[in-house]
């Protein structure tokens, strides 16, 4: 039973397209995150949701729009994809008194 699952695992798309990445957690956690890991492996927080409420939005272009239909899901929609958006995107979930559990990542390649 996968705790944090994200789909798809790989995504190759052309510049200018719009794409979505989905994330679901079955741990009952209140908080979910999106992180971007660039080619230098640096993990940068993008968004944090707590009980469907946006808590953290870290200077991410407004082409990126997270959506949390319920506290078990946090999806990431990206408009007008650019070459610089190529990265691995990780979803994670956490409660205040636990560690963060990560999905396996989505490798996005924009060509």
């Amino acid at each position: 039973d996968t705790a944090v699952s994200q789909t798809p695992k790989y995504l190759v798309t052309q510049m200018g397209n719009d794409k979505s990445i989905k994330c679901e957690q079955n741990l009952g956690h209140d908080t979910m995150y999106w992180y971007k890991q660039d080619s230098k492996k640096f993990l940068k927080i993008m968004f944090s949701y707590n009980n469907k409420e946006l808590i953290i939005n870290e200077t991410v272009p407004n082409r990126f729009s997270p959506k949390s239909p319920d506290k078990a899901h946090l999806n990431l929609h990206i408009n007008s994809l650019e070459l610089g958006d190529s990265a691995v995107y990780f979803c994670a979930s956490r409660s205040l008194s636990t560690e963060a559990f990560f999905g396996q990542g989505t490798r996005l390649t924009v060509v």
Partner: protein
């Protein structure tokens, strides 16, 4: 705002040698502290965590870390490294407040030579 510094980008150790990976953090109070490991092409796996209590914490795969409040450090150690430990290691600091912000260091790549 909290931040994490991992001063070593790469470390190479011989198999069987001891290991210490450094981590310093900046946070207004006592944070939650974590070490994660990432193998190539994989997600992040938790090695160990510190929330409160004993400042020396034990983790999986024979790793341990010590929280030193006076030095704002949470260094990761292993007495004898195995070739399978080669990976990238991330230290992270978690917010105890509402918002649960979790910030990562830049990572340290561990290479193990036989």
């Amino acid at each position: 705002a909290q931040s994490v510094t991992q001063p070593d980008i790469h470390i190479t150790v011989s198999e069987g040698a001891s290991l210490e990976l450094r981590c310093n953090y900046s946070y207004g109070a006592t944070p939650y502290l974590f070490w994660y490991v990432q193998s190539p092409g994989q997600g992040l796996q938790l090695l160990l965590k510190y929330f409160s209590g004993d400042t020396l914490v034990q983790g999986i795969k024979g790793f341990e870390a010590e929280f030193k409040r006076s030095q704002s450090s949470f260094n990761l150690r292993k007495p004898s490294v195995h070739w399978s430990d080669a990976a990238e290691y991330f230290c992270a600091v978690g917010d105890r407040q509402y918002g649960n912000k979790l910030v990562f260091g830049a990572g340290t790549i561990l290479r193990v030579k036989s």
